[in-house]
Amino acid sequence: MSSNTQRSFGWLALLTAIVAAVTFGVVALLVNIFERKQEARNPFVKVAEVTEVSTDPKPWGLNFPQQYEDYLKTVNDDYTDFGGNHALPPSKLEKHPWLKRLFAGYAFSIDYREARGHAHMLSDQEVTKRVTEVQQAGACLHCHASIIPTYRRIGLESMGKEATEEAMTEGYQWDAVLAGFQAVSQKNYEEVHAELTKTPDGVTKAEDGDPHMGGAHPVSCIDCHDPETMSIRVTRPGFILGIDKLAKSDAPVPHLPSIQEWRDKGSKGNYDPNTMATRQEMRSFVCGQCHVEYYCANKMTLTFPWSNGLKMEQLEAEWDSTEFPDGGKFYDYVHKETGTKVYKAQHPEFELWSQGIHARSGVSCSDCHMPYEKKGATKVSSHWVRSPMLNINKACQTCHNIPEQEIVDRVAVIQDRTEQLIDRAAAAMTEMLDAIIAAQEAGVSDDDLAPVRDLQRKAMWRLDYIASENSKGFHARQEAARILAESVDYSRQAIAMCYKLMGPSAPADVAKTIDEADRLASLAESN
């Protein structure tokens, strides 16, 4: 009898436990469904006020925790074959010694390292030997700092207006920003850096009499977003002026339909990306504010060379036709070994992307570098801006419905081929430098060397254009190969011309080769 009771009690306890477990599960599911439904309503709770001076991303992060958390992760990118994160990123100069010769006489020959994530961009600039050992222009802060409120403050002051915090938060104020941008462009780095901390950043509250009103921040939320509406926008004067020049050119821009539309409507006034561009274009334009070719030393205002179009030789043509305000032909630096005035390509990602299949297919920078992702039932654009190779599923497989490994292999083929072409172009470039030095030592006159110097500038610009571009050819693989092939060709032409000018003093075997080539050429002509 008592054992029966015990057994029944045991069964009852077991059943109760099962029912409890199932109830637990059902309630958990209920709560989960509830949460997902809440997420799908996409609520936005404004808990902190952000304005046109909020360069500190912290208050934005209170309103948009997911995006802020992603942004903070940019300190922590993994290393890919061609870039990534380190406490002290590896030196490109040590890995590719030819870069020291390419940049001889220019600050990049002192210190040139792999790039790191966005959150490092200001602190890395502050410590590079290019800045600590060489006097740099404040224009560099156009992209490395969240500088627009500082431009606005200086602009307002130069226009004789009072730059109070209230005045600075009354919208973007293009006139004031432009005036500040122009005033700052020719100041030196330290002066402009000091100006940053005199601008309120939305968080720091300085005490009376303290000139430090805010902190200096790397690029942050306000650089791509309108604090009122959160819509994406471009803020950088360099880009706004540059894209207007591009719109006014007659270069075909099949990947930027809003510019074509503006032209079709008669190109009235200025092209304003913030009101005319499509959202998809804006998802590239925000990146194109900085990931481009530009001039940013202090001989003239920061310039994006887009008045002929976005192709490499169109940018080159603008530099060829540019003169400094004090007269004299444009150049970036005098090459120390040869004395030739040459151009420095910066990092023309936006331009090279423009020549590629992804741009032509309507794929923006953000689609690959900030792909959409789902957090529960919410869809957000990842603000962990990084290499798509670290996020292939979301970055590539949204469109490319093939196995991940096939994508990895494809990218490796493109980047390795480009790297091999870069090595060949670099070998040709260093031989060219040797030939020019030899020609100078052999007493070839400067007049005679002038066409050689033109070839040298063209060859070095092309090599640098692809070597410094941050995709190792991926953004437009055929275009990258074409540019490197031209670089090799110009280097070799320059070498041949040097040896010809040197005549008998050229290395014997080379002279013979050139004589032979001449003989064949004259034979061909006489035939």
Partner: protein, 158 residues
């Protein structure tokens, strides 16, 4: 040892407690079933598929697709066999809700080999009169997947 005669109770107190719990579970369960739109899973309505928010893009692009007027989700993603249909529905329903509840699934989502076979079967089911000469001569032989080329006919959101 004279036991006090008492009315024999059919169930002990534990049983009442258990019954109470069971009733609570039944109540919460019914509510969850209703709140989670459980009944809709027995229907053929494409809106059911966006109960799970992951499918919103697929739903949106299906409405733009060439199949929009002739086929709903179930027409392509469930076998047309009366039993196979419910087996697949149960299988997908369970694993989809497991994945979406616990997270950690691939995003963009990828079709499983089993479901790919189902889709292939439904393509052929409707288009057999057109494609029969292209089919393998015996069941199960290798053939190219229809959606390999016609990737956008159902929905471009993959």
């Amino acid at each position: 040892m004279t036991a006090k005669p008492s009315r024999k109770r059919l169930f002990g107190p534990g049983a009442y407690l258990f019954a109470g719990c069971l009733g609570l579970l039944a109540g919460v369960g019914t509510f969850t079933f209703g709140y989670g739109k459980g009944a809709s899973y027995l229907s053929n309505d494409p809106k059911t598929c966006v109960n799970c928010h992951v499918m919103q893009g697929h739903m949106d692009s299906w409405q733009q697709s060439s199949h929009h007027h002739v086929a709903v989700c179930n027409d392509c993603h469930l076998p047309h066999h009366p039993i196979g249909k419910w087996v697949t529905k149960a299988d997908n329903g369970f694993f989809h809700s497991l994945a979406f509840t616990t997270g950690g699934f691939k995003d963009p989502i990828r079709i499983k080999p089993r479901n790919r076979r189902v889709t292939q079967g439904t393509c052929v089911h409707c288009h057999e009169s057109v494609v029969h000469s292209m089919l393998p001569d015996a069941a199960g032989r290798d053939m190219q997947s229809c959606v390999h080329c016609h990737a956008d006919v159902g929905h471009a959101g993959r």
